[in-house]
Protein backbone atom coordinates (compact mmCIF):
# COMPACT_ATOMS: atom_id res chain seq x y z
CA UNK A 1 0.00 0.00 0.00
CA UNK A 2 1.29 3.42 -0.97
CA UNK A 3 0.24 5.94 1.65
CA UNK A 4 -0.40 9.56 0.78
CA UNK A 5 1.14 12.33 2.83
CA UNK A 6 -2.06 13.03 4.74
CA UNK A 7 -2.50 9.33 5.47
CA UNK A 8 0.70 9.16 7.56
CA UNK A 9 -1.04 8.66 10.93
CA UNK A 10 -2.97 5.81 9.36
CA UNK A 11 0.23 4.27 8.01
CA UNK A 12 1.65 4.27 11.54
CA UNK A 13 -1.30 2.44 13.07
CA UNK A 14 -1.59 -0.08 10.26
CA UNK A 15 2.17 -0.56 10.39
CA UNK A 16 2.00 -1.29 14.12
CA UNK A 17 -0.78 -3.85 13.66
CA UNK A 18 1.21 -5.51 10.94
CA UNK A 19 4.33 -5.56 13.14
CA UNK A 20 2.44 -7.18 16.00
CA UNK A 21 1.08 -9.90 13.75
CA UNK A 22 4.51 -10.55 12.29
CA UNK A 23 5.95 -10.89 15.80
CA UNK A 24 3.24 -13.37 16.75
CA UNK A 25 3.90 -15.45 13.68
CA UNK A 26 7.53 -15.83 14.74
CA UNK A 27 6.56 -16.63 18.33
CA UNK A 28 3.86 -19.29 18.70
CA UNK A 29 3.21 -18.65 22.42
CA UNK A 30 2.19 -15.06 21.80
CA UNK A 31 -1.40 -14.02 21.30
CA UNK A 32 -1.75 -10.51 19.88
CA UNK A 33 -5.15 -10.89 18.28
CA UNK A 34 -6.84 -8.52 20.71
CA UNK A 35 -4.25 -5.78 20.43
CA UNK A 36 -4.03 -6.08 16.66
CA UNK A 37 -7.79 -5.95 16.30
CA UNK A 38 -7.96 -2.90 18.49
CA UNK A 39 -5.46 -1.24 16.19
CA UNK A 40 -7.48 -2.29 13.13
CA UNK A 41 -10.56 -0.68 14.60
CA UNK A 42 -8.61 2.46 15.38
CA UNK A 43 -7.31 2.51 11.80
CA UNK A 44 -10.79 2.17 10.38
CA UNK A 45 -12.14 5.02 12.44
CA UNK A 46 -9.23 7.16 11.35
CA UNK A 47 -9.68 6.22 7.69
CA UNK A 48 -13.34 7.15 7.85
CA UNK A 49 -12.42 10.41 9.47
CA UNK A 50 -9.73 11.23 6.91
CA UNK A 51 -11.98 10.55 3.94
CA UNK A 52 -15.14 12.06 5.37
CA UNK A 53 -14.39 15.52 4.13
CA UNK A 54 -11.39 15.52 1.81
CA UNK A 55 -10.07 18.97 0.97
CA UNK A 56 -9.73 19.73 -2.76
CA UNK A 57 -5.94 19.38 -2.56
CA UNK A 58 -6.22 15.98 -0.86
CA UNK A 59 -8.65 14.95 -3.58
CA UNK A 60 -6.00 15.84 -6.15
CA UNK A 61 -3.57 13.57 -4.35
CA UNK A 62 -6.09 10.72 -4.21
CA UNK A 63 -6.96 11.25 -7.88
CA UNK A 64 -3.27 10.86 -8.75
CA UNK A 65 -2.70 7.87 -6.47
CA UNK A 66 -0.54 5.33 -8.33
CA UNK A 67 -2.60 2.38 -7.05
CA UNK A 68 -5.90 3.62 -8.46
CA UNK A 69 -7.29 1.49 -11.27
CA UNK A 70 -6.22 2.93 -14.61
CA UNK A 71 -7.77 2.83 -18.07
CA UNK A 72 -6.29 -0.57 -18.90
CA UNK A 73 -7.73 -2.08 -15.69
CA UNK A 74 -11.21 -0.88 -16.60
CA UNK A 75 -10.92 -2.13 -20.16
CA UNK A 76 -9.68 -5.54 -19.00
CA UNK A 77 -12.44 -5.94 -16.42
CA UNK A 78 -15.48 -4.29 -18.00
CA UNK A 79 -15.09 -4.99 -21.70
CA UNK A 80 -14.77 -8.21 -23.67
CA UNK A 81 -13.11 -8.86 -27.00
CA UNK A 82 -11.16 -5.63 -26.66
CA UNK A 83 -9.35 -5.19 -29.93
CA UNK A 84 -6.83 -2.38 -29.82
CA UNK A 85 -6.64 -0.27 -32.96
CA UNK A 86 -3.40 1.61 -33.22
CA UNK A 87 -2.03 4.66 -34.92
CA UNK A 88 -3.15 7.97 -36.34
CA UNK A 89 -2.23 7.06 -39.97
CA UNK A 90 -0.02 10.12 -40.07
CA UNK A 91 2.95 9.78 -37.83
CA UNK A 92 2.83 7.35 -34.93
CA UNK A 93 0.86 5.39 -32.39
CA UNK A 94 0.55 7.21 -29.10
CA UNK A 95 0.82 4.81 -26.19
CA UNK A 96 -0.62 7.37 -23.77
CA UNK A 97 -3.98 6.78 -25.42
CA UNK A 98 -5.60 3.36 -25.54
CA UNK A 99 -8.35 2.79 -28.02
CA UNK A 100 -10.20 0.19 -29.97
CA UNK A 101 -13.40 -1.72 -30.41
CA UNK A 102 -14.79 -3.93 -27.66
CA UNK A 103 -18.00 -5.27 -26.24
CA UNK A 104 -19.66 -3.76 -23.23
CA UNK A 105 -22.39 -6.10 -21.95
CA UNK A 106 -22.22 -7.74 -25.39
CA UNK A 107 -22.85 -4.45 -27.16
CA UNK A 108 -20.05 -3.42 -29.54
CA UNK A 109 -18.63 -0.01 -28.61
CA UNK A 110 -15.57 2.10 -29.24
CA UNK A 111 -13.54 2.67 -26.08
CA UNK A 112 -10.85 5.34 -25.79
CA UNK A 113 -8.88 6.46 -22.74
CA UNK A 114 -5.69 7.87 -21.30
CA UNK A 115 -3.43 5.27 -19.72
CA UNK A 116 -0.83 6.36 -17.16
CA UNK A 117 0.95 3.05 -16.61
CA UNK A 118 1.57 1.34 -13.28
CA UNK A 119 5.33 0.87 -12.96
CA UNK A 120 8.38 2.77 -14.11
CA UNK A 121 8.65 0.94 -17.39
CA UNK A 122 4.99 1.22 -18.37
CA UNK A 123 4.78 4.79 -17.10
CA UNK A 124 7.57 5.82 -19.43
CA UNK A 125 6.04 3.88 -22.29
CA UNK A 126 2.67 5.56 -21.62
CA UNK A 127 4.32 8.94 -21.13
CA UNK A 128 2.49 9.22 -17.77
CA UNK A 129 -0.81 9.52 -19.57
CA UNK A 130 0.20 12.71 -21.37
CA UNK A 131 -0.93 12.39 -24.98
CA UNK A 132 0.80 13.84 -27.99
CA UNK A 133 -1.08 14.99 -31.11
CA UNK A 134 -1.06 11.41 -32.42
CA UNK A 135 -3.17 10.32 -29.43
CA UNK A 136 -5.90 12.83 -30.23
CA UNK A 137 -5.72 12.02 -33.93
CA UNK A 138 -6.08 8.33 -33.16
CA UNK A 139 -9.14 9.19 -31.06
CA UNK A 140 -10.58 11.25 -33.93
CA UNK A 141 -10.12 8.32 -36.29
CA UNK A 142 -11.84 5.94 -33.88
CA UNK A 143 -14.72 8.32 -33.25
CA UNK A 144 -15.21 8.62 -37.00
CA UNK A 145 -15.35 4.87 -37.23
CA UNK A 146 -17.85 4.68 -34.37
CA UNK A 147 -20.02 7.20 -36.17
CA UNK A 148 -19.96 5.25 -39.45
CA UNK A 149 -20.82 1.94 -37.83
CA UNK A 150 -23.21 3.37 -35.24
CA UNK A 151 -21.23 2.27 -32.20
CA UNK A 152 -21.52 4.19 -28.94
CA UNK A 153 -18.26 5.72 -27.68
CA UNK A 154 -17.03 5.39 -24.10
CA UNK A 155 -14.05 7.52 -23.06
CA UNK A 156 -12.07 7.16 -19.85
CA UNK A 157 -10.28 10.34 -18.82
CA UNK A 158 -7.12 10.21 -16.73
CA UNK A 159 -4.40 12.64 -17.75
CA UNK A 160 -2.28 15.33 -16.13
CA UNK A 161 -2.71 17.17 -19.46
CA UNK A 162 -1.44 17.15 -23.01
CA UNK A 163 2.32 16.60 -23.27
CA UNK A 164 4.27 19.87 -23.33
CA UNK A 165 7.05 18.70 -25.66
CA UNK A 166 8.87 20.10 -28.65
CA UNK A 167 7.72 17.48 -31.17
CA UNK A 168 4.16 17.59 -29.86
CA UNK A 169 4.02 21.33 -30.52
CA UNK A 170 5.64 21.01 -33.94
CA UNK A 171 3.08 18.44 -34.98
CA UNK A 172 0.18 20.62 -33.90
CA UNK A 173 -0.86 19.73 -30.37
CA UNK A 174 -3.36 22.60 -30.28
CA UNK A 175 -4.90 21.70 -33.62
CA UNK A 176 -5.18 18.04 -32.67
CA UNK A 177 -7.01 18.87 -29.44
CA UNK A 178 -9.30 21.33 -31.21
CA UNK A 179 -10.19 18.74 -33.86
CA UNK A 180 -10.80 16.07 -31.26
CA UNK A 181 -13.21 18.33 -29.36
CA UNK A 182 -14.85 19.17 -32.67
CA UNK A 183 -15.20 15.48 -33.50
CA UNK A 184 -16.80 14.78 -30.12
CA UNK A 185 -19.45 17.35 -31.00
CA UNK A 186 -20.05 15.95 -34.49
CA UNK A 187 -20.66 12.25 -34.03
CA UNK A 188 -24.21 10.96 -34.22
CA UNK A 189 -23.73 8.21 -31.66
CA UNK A 190 -23.92 8.28 -27.85
CA UNK A 191 -20.70 9.60 -26.35
CA UNK A 192 -20.19 9.09 -22.65
CA UNK A 193 -17.19 9.93 -20.59
CA UNK A 194 -15.93 8.97 -17.14
CA UNK A 195 -13.21 10.93 -15.37
CA UNK A 196 -11.49 8.13 -13.46
CA UNK A 197 -8.57 10.10 -12.03
CA UNK A 198 -7.22 13.37 -13.30
CA UNK A 199 -9.09 15.44 -15.85
CA UNK A 200 -6.24 17.69 -16.91
CA UNK A 201 -7.24 20.68 -19.02
CA UNK A 202 -7.46 20.57 -22.83
CA UNK A 203 -6.17 17.01 -22.92
CA UNK A 204 -9.28 15.96 -21.00
CA UNK A 205 -11.81 18.13 -22.86
CA UNK A 206 -10.70 16.56 -26.13
CA UNK A 207 -12.28 13.29 -24.95
CA UNK A 208 -14.90 14.53 -22.52
CA UNK A 209 -17.09 16.75 -24.70
CA UNK A 210 -19.75 14.13 -24.20
CA UNK A 211 -23.50 13.64 -23.90
CA UNK A 212 -22.95 12.40 -20.37
CA UNK A 213 -19.96 13.03 -18.16
CA UNK A 214 -19.45 11.10 -14.92
CA UNK A 215 -16.71 11.49 -12.38
CA UNK A 216 -15.42 9.17 -9.71
CA UNK A 217 -16.06 10.57 -6.25
CA UNK A 218 -12.45 11.60 -5.62
CA UNK A 219 -11.40 12.43 -9.16
CA UNK A 220 -10.68 16.00 -10.25
CA UNK A 221 -11.23 17.95 -13.46
CA UNK A 222 -9.64 21.33 -13.99
CA UNK A 223 -8.51 23.99 -16.42
CA UNK A 224 -5.02 23.91 -14.89
CA UNK A 225 -3.22 21.92 -12.20
CA UNK A 226 -3.33 23.53 -8.74
CA UNK A 227 0.47 23.78 -8.83
CA UNK A 228 0.38 25.57 -12.20
CA UNK A 229 -2.39 27.90 -11.08
CA UNK A 230 -0.56 28.69 -7.82
CA UNK A 231 2.66 29.54 -9.59
CA UNK A 232 0.86 31.90 -11.96
CA UNK A 233 -1.67 33.60 -9.69
CA UNK A 234 0.10 33.32 -6.33
CA UNK A 235 3.60 33.38 -7.84
CA UNK A 236 4.31 30.45 -5.55
CA UNK A 237 3.76 26.83 -6.56
CA UNK A 238 3.56 25.91 -2.86
CA UNK A 239 0.16 27.60 -2.64
CA UNK A 240 -1.43 24.62 -4.42
CA UNK A 241 -3.83 24.04 -1.51
CA UNK A 242 -5.32 27.50 -1.93
CA UNK A 243 -5.40 27.11 -5.72
CA UNK A 244 -7.11 23.70 -5.50
CA UNK A 245 -9.72 25.27 -3.24
CA UNK A 246 -10.34 28.24 -5.54
CA UNK A 247 -10.50 26.25 -8.79
CA UNK A 248 -13.53 24.17 -7.74
CA UNK A 249 -12.10 21.08 -9.33
CA UNK A 250 -13.83 18.39 -7.25
CA UNK A 251 -16.56 16.17 -8.66
CA UNK A 252 -18.95 17.62 -6.08
CA UNK A 253 -18.38 21.25 -7.10
CA UNK A 254 -18.45 20.38 -10.79
CA UNK A 255 -21.81 18.72 -10.40
CA UNK A 256 -23.13 21.89 -8.76
CA UNK A 257 -21.82 23.87 -11.73
CA UNK A 258 -23.61 21.56 -14.13
CA UNK A 259 -20.41 20.40 -15.80
CA UNK A 260 -20.74 16.84 -14.53
CA UNK A 261 -23.89 14.75 -14.70
CA UNK A 262 -23.13 11.94 -12.31
CA UNK A 263 -20.79 11.09 -9.46
CA UNK A 264 -19.71 7.47 -9.06
CA UNK A 265 -19.04 6.55 -5.43
CA UNK A 266 -15.67 5.18 -4.40
CA UNK A 267 -15.11 2.71 -1.58
CA UNK A 268 -14.00 4.04 1.81
CA UNK A 269 -10.43 5.24 1.55
CA UNK A 270 -10.56 5.83 -2.20
CA UNK A 271 -10.44 3.71 -5.35
CA UNK A 272 -6.93 2.53 -4.47
CA UNK A 273 -8.33 0.66 -1.43
CA UNK A 274 -11.06 -1.11 -3.37
CA UNK A 275 -10.08 -1.44 -6.98
CA UNK A 276 -12.60 -4.15 -7.76
CA UNK A 277 -15.59 -2.31 -6.26
CA UNK A 278 -14.53 0.87 -8.03
CA UNK A 279 -14.31 -0.80 -11.40
CA UNK A 280 -17.71 -2.42 -10.86
CA UNK A 281 -19.25 0.91 -9.88
CA UNK A 282 -17.85 2.54 -13.01
CA UNK A 283 -19.26 -0.34 -15.07
CA UNK A 284 -22.66 0.26 -13.53
CA UNK A 285 -22.38 3.98 -14.29
CA UNK A 286 -21.50 3.35 -17.93
CA UNK A 287 -24.41 0.94 -18.23
CA UNK A 288 -26.91 3.44 -16.86
CA UNK A 289 -25.65 6.28 -19.03
CA UNK A 290 -25.66 4.18 -22.19
CA UNK A 291 -29.20 3.11 -21.42
CA UNK A 292 -30.29 6.74 -21.02
CA UNK A 293 -29.07 7.49 -24.52
CA UNK A 294 -30.02 4.31 -26.33
CA UNK A 295 -32.56 4.65 -29.11
CA UNK A 296 -31.88 8.36 -29.58
CA UNK A 297 -31.52 9.50 -33.15
CA UNK A 298 -28.14 10.81 -34.40
CA UNK A 299 -29.46 14.36 -34.84
CA UNK A 300 -30.95 14.33 -31.36
CA UNK A 301 -27.65 13.19 -29.84
CA UNK A 302 -25.72 15.92 -31.63
CA UNK A 303 -28.25 18.53 -30.63
CA UNK A 304 -28.30 17.30 -27.03
CA UNK A 305 -24.52 17.67 -26.80
CA UNK A 306 -24.48 21.14 -28.35
CA UNK A 307 -27.26 22.51 -26.24
CA UNK A 308 -25.63 21.12 -23.13
CA UNK A 309 -22.36 22.93 -23.80
CA UNK A 310 -23.95 26.16 -25.01
CA UNK A 311 -26.00 26.42 -21.84
CA UNK A 312 -23.22 25.29 -19.54
CA UNK A 313 -22.16 27.78 -16.90
CA UNK A 314 -25.06 30.15 -17.43
CA UNK A 315 -25.89 29.97 -13.73
CA UNK A 316 -22.56 29.68 -11.93
CA UNK A 317 -22.37 28.45 -8.35
CA UNK A 318 -25.32 29.42 -6.21
CA UNK A 319 -24.29 32.28 -3.95
Amino acid sequence: MNYLEFEKPLAEIEGKAEELRAMARGNSGMDVTKEAEALDRKAEVLLKDLYKDLTPWRKCQVARHPDRPHCKDYIDALFTEYTALAGDRNFADDHAVMGGIARFNDQPVVVIGHEKGNDTKSRIERNFGMARPEGYRKAIRLMDMADRFRLPVVTLVDTPGAYPGKGAEERGQAEAIARSTEKCLQIGVPLISVVIGEGGSGGAVAFATANRVAMLEHSVYSVISPEGCASILWKDAEKMREAAEALRLTAQDLQKLGVVDRIIKEPLGGAQRGRKETIEAVGKGIEVMLKELSGKKPEALIKDRRTKFIEMGSKGLAA
Binding site: A162, Y163, P164, G165, K166, A168, E169, E170, R171, G172, Q173, A174, E175, I177, A178, R179, T181, E182, C184, L185, Q186, S201, G202, V205, A206, T209, Y221, S222, V223, I224, C229, I232, L233, W234, E242, A243, A246, L247, R248, L249, L254, L257, V259, R306, F309, I310, M312, G313, S314, K315, G316, L317, A319
Partner: protein, 297 residues
Protein backbone atom coordinates in the same frame (compact mmCIF):
# COMPACT_ATOMS: atom_id res chain seq x y z
CA UNK B 1 18.84 73.04 2.97
CA UNK B 2 16.62 76.11 2.94
CA UNK B 3 13.03 76.63 2.07
CA UNK B 4 13.86 77.52 -1.49
CA UNK B 5 15.36 74.15 -2.34
CA UNK B 6 12.95 72.26 -0.12
CA UNK B 7 9.70 73.80 -1.12
CA UNK B 8 9.94 76.14 -4.06
CA UNK B 9 11.97 73.97 -6.34
CA UNK B 10 9.85 70.80 -6.04
CA UNK B 11 6.77 72.90 -6.53
CA UNK B 12 8.22 74.53 -9.62
CA UNK B 13 9.36 71.16 -10.90
CA UNK B 14 5.94 69.64 -10.44
CA UNK B 15 4.42 72.59 -12.28
CA UNK B 16 6.60 72.40 -15.33
CA UNK B 17 8.46 69.16 -15.76
CA UNK B 18 5.41 66.95 -15.87
CA UNK B 19 3.74 68.95 -18.53
CA UNK B 20 6.79 69.08 -20.67
CA UNK B 21 7.13 65.32 -21.09
CA UNK B 22 3.70 63.77 -21.09
CA UNK B 23 3.66 60.01 -21.03
CA UNK B 24 2.65 57.90 -24.01
CA UNK B 25 3.95 60.36 -26.55
CA UNK B 26 6.83 58.06 -27.39
CA UNK B 27 6.91 54.29 -27.43
CA UNK B 28 10.09 52.30 -27.39
CA UNK B 29 10.02 49.36 -29.77
CA UNK B 30 10.63 46.30 -27.58
CA UNK B 31 12.44 44.61 -30.44
CA UNK B 32 14.88 47.18 -31.85
CA UNK B 33 14.68 49.93 -29.23
CA UNK B 34 13.76 52.70 -31.66
CA UNK B 35 11.74 55.51 -30.09
CA UNK B 36 8.53 55.85 -32.04
CA UNK B 37 6.27 58.89 -32.02
CA UNK B 38 2.71 57.92 -31.15
CA UNK B 39 1.06 59.42 -34.22
CA UNK B 40 3.49 57.74 -36.51
CA UNK B 41 3.09 54.43 -34.72
CA UNK B 42 -0.71 54.60 -34.84
CA UNK B 43 -0.66 55.47 -38.52
CA UNK B 44 1.50 52.39 -39.04
CA UNK B 45 -1.04 50.20 -37.15
CA UNK B 46 1.31 49.77 -34.18
CA UNK B 47 3.98 48.19 -36.33
CA UNK B 48 7.50 49.51 -35.69
CA UNK B 49 8.49 51.73 -38.61
CA UNK B 50 12.08 50.71 -38.22
CA UNK B 51 12.07 46.91 -37.75
CA UNK B 52 8.48 45.86 -38.60
CA UNK B 53 7.89 44.44 -35.13
CA UNK B 54 4.14 43.98 -34.65
CA UNK B 55 3.02 45.41 -31.32
CA UNK B 56 -0.36 44.81 -29.75
CA UNK B 57 -3.27 46.78 -31.17
CA UNK B 58 -6.57 47.26 -29.38
CA UNK B 59 -9.68 45.71 -30.96
CA UNK B 60 -11.15 49.19 -31.44
CA UNK B 61 -8.10 50.52 -33.25
CA UNK B 62 -7.93 47.39 -35.35
CA UNK B 63 -11.57 47.69 -36.37
CA UNK B 64 -11.18 51.40 -37.14
CA UNK B 65 -8.41 50.54 -39.55
CA UNK B 66 -10.22 47.50 -40.93
CA UNK B 67 -13.74 48.62 -41.76
CA UNK B 68 -14.56 51.02 -44.61
CA UNK B 69 -14.32 54.56 -43.33
CA UNK B 70 -13.50 53.20 -39.89
CA UNK B 71 -17.22 52.63 -39.41
CA UNK B 72 -18.53 49.55 -37.65
CA UNK B 73 -21.43 48.59 -35.43
CA UNK B 74 -20.85 46.70 -32.22
CA UNK B 75 -22.72 43.43 -31.84
CA UNK B 76 -24.19 42.99 -28.40
CA UNK B 77 -22.76 40.17 -26.32
CA UNK B 78 -25.00 38.50 -23.71
CA UNK B 79 -23.65 39.13 -20.20
CA UNK B 80 -22.56 36.03 -18.34
CA UNK B 81 -22.73 35.55 -14.57
CA UNK B 82 -19.88 37.56 -13.04
CA UNK B 83 -17.45 35.52 -10.96
CA UNK B 84 -19.28 32.19 -11.21
CA UNK B 85 -16.90 30.40 -8.81
CA UNK B 86 -16.47 33.23 -6.26
CA UNK B 87 -12.80 32.97 -7.11
CA UNK B 88 -10.16 34.54 -4.98
CA UNK B 89 -6.40 34.36 -5.27
CA UNK B 90 -4.33 37.19 -3.82
CA UNK B 91 -7.09 39.46 -5.06
CA UNK B 92 -10.78 38.83 -5.61
CA UNK B 93 -11.67 38.12 -9.23
CA UNK B 94 -14.25 40.97 -9.48
CA UNK B 95 -11.51 43.37 -8.36
CA UNK B 96 -9.20 42.13 -11.10
CA UNK B 97 -12.02 42.56 -13.60
CA UNK B 98 -12.67 46.11 -12.43
CA UNK B 99 -8.99 46.98 -12.68
CA UNK B 100 -8.85 45.61 -16.22
CA UNK B 101 -11.98 47.53 -17.19
CA UNK B 102 -10.50 50.72 -15.82
CA UNK B 103 -7.16 50.20 -17.56
CA UNK B 104 -8.62 49.36 -20.96
CA UNK B 105 -11.92 51.21 -20.98
CA UNK B 106 -13.48 48.01 -22.28
CA UNK B 107 -16.01 45.74 -20.66
CA UNK B 108 -14.22 42.51 -21.41
CA UNK B 109 -11.52 40.82 -23.46
CA UNK B 110 -13.43 40.60 -26.72
CA UNK B 111 -15.12 43.00 -29.09
CA UNK B 112 -17.63 41.92 -31.75
CA UNK B 113 -18.48 44.18 -34.68
CA UNK B 114 -20.13 44.14 -38.06
CA UNK B 115 -19.57 46.32 -41.07
CA UNK B 116 -18.00 46.31 -44.49
CA UNK B 117 -14.46 45.98 -45.69
CA UNK B 118 -14.09 47.07 -49.31
CA UNK B 119 -17.87 46.79 -49.51
CA UNK B 120 -17.68 43.19 -48.36
CA UNK B 121 -20.04 42.68 -45.44
CA UNK B 122 -18.49 40.77 -42.55
CA UNK B 123 -18.75 40.10 -38.85
CA UNK B 124 -15.46 40.49 -36.98
CA UNK B 125 -14.28 39.53 -33.50
CA UNK B 126 -11.08 40.71 -31.87
CA UNK B 127 -9.53 39.61 -28.64
CA UNK B 128 -7.90 42.17 -26.38
CA UNK B 129 -4.62 41.00 -24.90
CA UNK B 130 -4.44 44.03 -22.63
CA UNK B 131 -7.60 42.85 -20.84
CA UNK B 132 -6.41 40.14 -18.42
CA UNK B 133 -4.13 38.73 -21.12
CA UNK B 134 -7.12 38.29 -23.41
CA UNK B 135 -8.04 35.25 -21.39
CA UNK B 136 -11.00 33.14 -22.42
CA UNK B 137 -13.84 32.99 -19.93
CA UNK B 138 -17.61 32.91 -20.23
CA UNK B 139 -17.74 36.38 -21.81
CA UNK B 140 -15.31 35.48 -24.57
CA UNK B 141 -17.32 32.32 -25.21
CA UNK B 142 -20.53 34.34 -25.35
CA UNK B 143 -18.88 36.83 -27.71
CA UNK B 144 -17.84 34.14 -30.16
CA UNK B 145 -21.27 32.52 -30.03
CA UNK B 146 -22.94 35.90 -30.54
CA UNK B 147 -20.62 36.62 -33.49
CA UNK B 148 -21.31 33.26 -35.10
CA UNK B 149 -25.07 33.60 -34.61
CA UNK B 150 -24.99 37.07 -36.10
CA UNK B 151 -22.89 35.89 -39.05
CA UNK B 152 -25.28 33.02 -39.73
CA UNK B 153 -28.30 35.28 -39.44
CA UNK B 154 -26.86 37.89 -41.82
CA UNK B 155 -25.14 35.26 -44.03
CA UNK B 156 -21.79 36.97 -43.62
CA UNK B 157 -18.28 35.56 -43.18
CA UNK B 158 -16.64 35.78 -39.79
CA UNK B 159 -13.12 37.11 -39.29
CA UNK B 160 -11.56 36.47 -35.90
CA UNK B 161 -8.40 38.07 -34.48
CA UNK B 162 -7.05 35.98 -31.63
CA UNK B 163 -4.72 37.10 -28.84
CA UNK B 164 -4.72 35.34 -25.51
CA UNK B 165 -2.64 33.83 -22.78
CA UNK B 166 -5.17 31.00 -22.69
CA UNK B 167 -8.11 30.19 -20.47
CA UNK B 168 -9.22 32.47 -17.65
CA UNK B 169 -8.19 30.54 -14.56
CA UNK B 170 -10.48 32.61 -12.35
CA UNK B 171 -13.43 30.94 -14.04
CA UNK B 172 -11.98 27.48 -13.47
CA UNK B 173 -13.68 24.63 -15.26
CA UNK B 174 -16.11 27.05 -16.93
CA UNK B 175 -13.22 28.65 -18.79
CA UNK B 176 -12.19 25.18 -19.96
CA UNK B 177 -15.77 24.57 -21.13
CA UNK B 178 -15.38 27.49 -23.54
CA UNK B 179 -13.34 25.14 -25.70
CA UNK B 180 -16.37 23.01 -26.66
CA UNK B 181 -18.66 26.06 -26.52
CA UNK B 182 -16.67 28.05 -29.04
CA UNK B 183 -16.24 24.94 -31.17
CA UNK B 184 -20.03 24.79 -31.43
CA UNK B 185 -19.92 28.37 -32.72
CA UNK B 186 -17.43 27.39 -35.41
CA UNK B 187 -19.66 24.49 -36.40
CA UNK B 188 -22.61 26.83 -36.88
CA UNK B 189 -20.56 28.77 -39.43
CA UNK B 190 -19.43 25.65 -41.22
CA UNK B 191 -22.94 24.27 -41.47
CA UNK B 192 -24.09 27.55 -42.96
CA UNK B 193 -21.17 27.37 -45.45
CA UNK B 194 -19.82 30.68 -44.29
CA UNK B 195 -16.09 31.39 -44.40
CA UNK B 196 -14.39 31.54 -41.03
CA UNK B 197 -11.00 33.24 -41.20
CA UNK B 198 -8.70 33.26 -38.20
CA UNK B 199 -5.94 35.83 -37.85
CA UNK B 200 -3.61 34.71 -35.09
CA UNK B 201 -1.81 37.59 -33.42
CA UNK B 202 0.88 37.69 -30.76
CA UNK B 203 0.46 35.77 -28.52
CA UNK B 204 -2.15 33.06 -29.00
CA UNK B 205 -1.69 30.21 -26.57
CA UNK B 206 -3.29 27.46 -24.49
CA UNK B 207 -6.97 26.58 -24.70
CA UNK B 208 -7.61 29.38 -27.19
CA UNK B 209 -5.21 27.87 -29.70
CA UNK B 210 -6.64 24.44 -28.90
CA UNK B 211 -10.18 25.46 -29.88
CA UNK B 212 -11.60 28.23 -32.10
CA UNK B 213 -8.23 29.73 -33.08
CA UNK B 214 -7.13 26.58 -34.89
CA UNK B 215 -10.40 25.75 -36.63
CA UNK B 216 -10.50 28.39 -39.36
CA UNK B 217 -11.06 27.67 -43.03
CA UNK B 218 -8.05 29.89 -43.59
CA UNK B 219 -5.40 30.39 -40.91
CA UNK B 220 -3.37 33.60 -41.18
CA UNK B 221 -0.84 34.82 -38.62
CA UNK B 222 0.90 38.12 -38.07
CA UNK B 223 4.71 37.99 -38.40
CA UNK B 224 6.63 36.58 -35.44
CA UNK B 225 3.46 35.94 -33.40
CA UNK B 226 3.90 33.29 -30.70
CA UNK B 227 1.34 30.57 -31.37
CA UNK B 228 1.30 27.46 -29.24
CA UNK B 229 -0.51 25.19 -26.85
CA UNK B 230 2.14 24.83 -24.14
CA UNK B 231 4.34 27.91 -23.80
CA UNK B 232 8.09 27.77 -24.45
CA UNK B 233 8.97 28.12 -20.75
CA UNK B 234 6.84 25.12 -19.78
CA UNK B 235 8.41 23.04 -22.54
CA UNK B 236 11.94 24.02 -21.56
CA UNK B 237 11.21 23.02 -17.98
CA UNK B 238 9.78 19.68 -19.13
CA UNK B 239 12.41 18.60 -21.64
CA UNK B 240 15.30 20.46 -19.99
CA UNK B 241 16.83 21.78 -23.15
CA UNK B 242 16.95 25.09 -24.95
CA UNK B 243 14.43 25.49 -27.73
CA UNK B 244 15.58 26.51 -31.20
CA UNK B 245 15.43 30.13 -32.36
CA UNK B 246 12.00 31.08 -33.58
CA UNK B 247 10.30 28.02 -32.07
CA UNK B 248 6.49 28.39 -32.00
CA UNK B 249 6.64 31.64 -33.93
CA UNK B 250 4.33 32.24 -36.90
CA UNK B 251 7.00 31.50 -39.52
CA UNK B 252 7.94 28.26 -37.74
CA UNK B 253 4.32 27.14 -37.72
CA UNK B 254 3.99 28.03 -41.39
CA UNK B 255 7.01 25.81 -42.09
CA UNK B 256 5.43 23.00 -40.10
CA UNK B 257 2.17 23.14 -42.01
CA UNK B 258 0.03 24.59 -39.24
CA UNK B 259 -0.84 27.86 -41.03
CA UNK B 260 -1.85 29.01 -44.50
CA UNK B 261 -0.09 32.33 -44.48
CA UNK B 262 1.95 34.82 -42.49
CA UNK B 263 0.89 38.33 -43.42
CA UNK B 264 2.12 41.79 -42.46
CA UNK B 265 -0.54 43.78 -40.62
CA UNK B 266 -0.51 46.49 -43.27
CA UNK B 267 -1.26 43.98 -46.03
CA UNK B 268 -3.86 42.10 -44.03
CA UNK B 269 -6.93 44.10 -44.97
CA UNK B 270 -6.39 43.71 -48.68
CA UNK B 271 -5.63 40.04 -48.29
CA UNK B 272 -8.77 39.42 -46.25
CA UNK B 273 -10.88 41.15 -48.87
CA UNK B 274 -9.33 39.10 -51.66
CA UNK B 275 -9.86 35.81 -49.86
CA UNK B 276 -13.35 36.58 -48.60
CA UNK B 277 -14.59 37.74 -51.99
CA UNK B 278 -13.35 34.58 -53.65
CA UNK B 279 -14.76 32.28 -51.00
CA UNK B 280 -18.12 34.01 -51.19
CA UNK B 281 -18.09 34.04 -54.98
CA UNK B 282 -18.13 37.80 -55.39
CA UNK B 283 -16.34 39.78 -58.12
CA UNK B 284 -12.94 41.22 -57.18
CA UNK B 285 -12.98 44.38 -55.12
CA UNK B 286 -12.67 47.54 -57.17
CA UNK B 287 -9.37 49.27 -56.54
CA UNK B 288 -9.70 52.37 -54.47
CA UNK B 289 -12.17 50.79 -52.08
CA UNK B 290 -9.40 49.12 -50.22
CA UNK B 291 -8.32 51.90 -47.92
CA UNK B 292 -10.00 52.38 -44.60
CA UNK B 293 -9.91 55.85 -43.10
CA UNK B 294 -7.28 56.08 -40.40
CA UNK B 295 -8.88 56.14 -36.98
CA UNK B 296 -8.02 59.76 -36.23
CA UNK B 297 -9.31 61.33 -39.43
Amino acid sequence: MNWISNYVRPKINSLFSRREVPENLWTKCPECGTMLFHRELAANLNVCTSCDHHMAISPRDRFSALFDGGIFTEVKVPEPVTDPLHFRDQKKYPERLKAAQKATGEKEAMLVAEGEIAKTAIVAVAQDFSFMAGSMGMYVGNAILAAAERAVKMKRPLVLFSAAGGARMQEGILSLMQMPRTTVAVQMLKEANLPYIVVLTHPTTGGVTASYAMLGDVQIAEPNALICFAGPRVIEQTIREKLPEGFQRAEYLLDHGMLDRVTHRKALREELVTILRMLTNQPPAIKGELTAQPAEA
